[in-house]
């Protein structure tokens, strides 16, 4: 099975070389845990290999995202690939694009290798109740799985939860959770894999994810 590098070599090693082809991975975590930077790094890693990626932003504007990349050496080269192999699509849900249209857009992503949607919570905001949200979420995932090489679905969660409690972890093929852990009174970013279809992995082991001016780095299990 073809694997898509996550952009973090140590994470790739933990999941058999990368994210499995035609799967959708939920990247969940509290605000500030590094989901957006992780996703941008994921797209950049693909672009370096000649793959095409789209960052679908329902949250931040293109300018803000690029400014965040400019502050991190590892992510700076994203500008070089912009529009050629990395697109940042700002989507104004319900003001410009309605939910039904949005869920169908991904049927037309067959020329795309990687997609990151930031974030799934916006989908929830514009759905009529939990049932409608689950249906829309399922449609988005189905279309991504069928058309795109590897996709990340970003999900903002509250402390110690893996999703919004509306079935995201069940619908997705994989779940990577980012969180904060206080070690010796100093908060550290952690990453744990809790689900990854077609892949043997060690579940619920927390690894340290460091984000510095140099870039993103995953170090082997430090906290157990």
């Amino acid at each position: 099975m073809k694997r898509y590098t996550t952009g973090l070599s140590n994470l790739d090693k933990l999941i058999g070389g990368g994210l499995p082809e035609h799967t959708v991975t939920l990247l969940s975590g509290n605000a500030g845990t590094g989901k957006t930077l992780f996703a941008l790094n994921f797209l950049l890693a693909g672009a370096k290999k000649g793959e095409k990626g789209v960052f679908v932003s329902l949250n931040e504007g293109k300018g803000d995202l690029l400014r965040a990349c400019d502050g991190i050496a590892q992510l700076k080269p994203i500008r070089k690939y912009l529009n050629k192999s990395i697109l940042i699509q700002e989507i104004d849900l319900e003001e410009v694009i309605d939910l039904e249209y949005f869920t169908k857009i991904f049927e037309k992503y067959s020329n795309v290798d990687r997609v990151a949607i930031d974030n799934v919570n916006k989908l929830l905001l514009f759905s009529n109740g939990d049932k409608d949200y689950r249906i829309n979420l399922s449609r988005v995932i189905k279309n991504l799985r069928a058309n795109v090489g590897s996709s990340l679905l970003l999900c903002e969660t509250l402390d110690h939860t893996l999703d919004t409690n509306r079935g995201e972890t069940y619908e997705a093929d994989g779940v990577i959770n980012l969180s904060f852990l206080e070690v010796e009174e100093k908060p550290s970013r952690t990453l744990e894999i809790t689900k990854m279809r077609y892949t043997p992995f060690d579940a619920y082991v927390q690894h340290e994810l460091s984000i510095s001016k140099k870039g993103l780095k995953l170090t082997k299990a430090k906290f157990i």
Binding site: I91, V96, I97, N111
Partner: protein, 112 residues
């Protein structure tokens, strides 16, 4: 009978007229996510030009080639079956055809 578009106002902006309509959900479904590649023609002056034919169990309105040429609509870009509707505005009927689908939100990479 579906509710039809209502004229809300006409304003002059530079050398253009800005016409605002209040439209129904059905009409919105025809326009949504696209703001160009529409054909809006008053039917009163078209009766002699339009052709009606049947395709399967339903009727089809056909636009003559001459009309398309006159208005610079390239035949090769027209879908075989286009979404269309008849709007009634102030007693006048208008035929609206979406001659190209919206590509809003679809990935368009440079050089493709």
């Amino acid at each position: 009978m579906y509710p039809m578009a209502k004229l809300k106002g006409i304003e002059l902006e530079d050398d253009h007229f800005l016409v605002s309509f209040r439209i129904s959900k059905r009409e919105y479904d025809l326009f949504k996510h696209g703001n160009k590649h529409f054909l809006l023609v008053p039917l009163s002056g078209m009766y002699n030009q339009l052709t009606i034919g049947t395709l399967g169990n339903s009727y089809r309105l056909m636009l003559p080639k001459k009309f398309l040429k006159e208005h610079g609509i390239a035949e090769d870009k027209l879908p075989k079956k286009a979404d269309a509707g008849v709007f009634s505005i102030g007693g006048e009927k208008y035929l609206t055809v979406r001659i190209s689908s919206s590509t809003l939100g679809e990935p368009q990479f440079e050089g493709e």
